[in-house]
């Protein structure tokens, strides 16, 4: 069975600091990996996805993620966090299907001024 673990329930960083959100997955085949952001009152928005190819993936809003097959990880990073990045972030894994994914339980990001 596929699963996603986001070890950090809540992370607080200062504005301008770097950010790394962890994601570990379990999947029996070649995984398709996603990071989504959910702001209060907003729908889930796709930040980036990995299907194949270069293991360092660039996304929107300055985010990137690196797929490490040996570690079963797909960590999300941003070099300098902005106050508007405060939100909940979800990692997801799935088959070759855009929307049929297994999600982690999310990491809530708080940004200190």
């Amino acid at each position: 069975a596929q699963s996603v673990t986001q070890p950090d329930i809540h992370i607080t960083v200062s504005e301008g600091a770097s950010l790394e959100l962890r994601c570990n997955y379990s999947y029996g085949a070649t995984p398709y990996l996603f990071w989504y952001v959910q702001s209060p009152g907003q729908g889930l928005q796709l930040l980036l996805k990995y299907f194949s190819g270069d293991t360092l993936v660039q996304g929107i809003k300055g985010f990137e993620a690196e797929f490490k097959r040996s570690q079963s990880s797909f960590n999300l990073r941003k070099p300098s966090v902005h106050w508007s990045d405060a939100a909940e972030y979800f990692c997801a894994v799935g088959p070759n299907n855009a929307g049929k994914s297994t999600f982690g339980d999310g990491t809530t990001l708080t940004v200190k001024p």
Partner: protein, 115 residues
């Protein structure tokens, strides 16, 4: 429309009642998905439609839950004999084809509260 639209945005119902939740996907998207998100958890897959047919309903928790998409566009999630444990945000998403390098776009959800 410009995005995935879900109605109502909020629904309060009494235990045992029947509810319907509606999803209007992005025009032209053939794939449609329903998820359920309980408090403090990530979205949980319920069902996936390709066109009019349910291609994968493995996530529906029991036979009280049913979804239709009769014309391959709008979808309705139906819950019979609601229970307090059904309280959650129900999310709908659509994508152009459902496979390959396409993106799923999510609606803002319907918050269902069963009292």
């Amino acid at each position: 429309g410009a995005g995935v639209s879900q109605t109502p945005s909020n629904k309060v119902t009494e235990k045992g009642k029947y509810v319907e939740l509606r999803c209007d996907p992005i025009s032209g998207h053939t794939a449609l998905y329903w998820y359920r998100q309980s408090l403090g958890q990530g979205p949980e897959f319920l069902i996936y439609f390709q066109g009019t047919g349910a291609a994968d309903d493995s996530g529906l928790p029991n036979d009280r839950f049913f979804a239709v998409r009769p014309e391959g566009s709008v979808s309705t999630l139906k819950i019979q004999r609601t229970e307090r444990g059904d309280s959650a945000v129900y999310l709908c998403a659509s994508s152009l084809t459902g496979t390959g390098d396409t993106e799923a776009f999510f609606g803002q959800g319907t918050r269902l509260t069963v009292v």
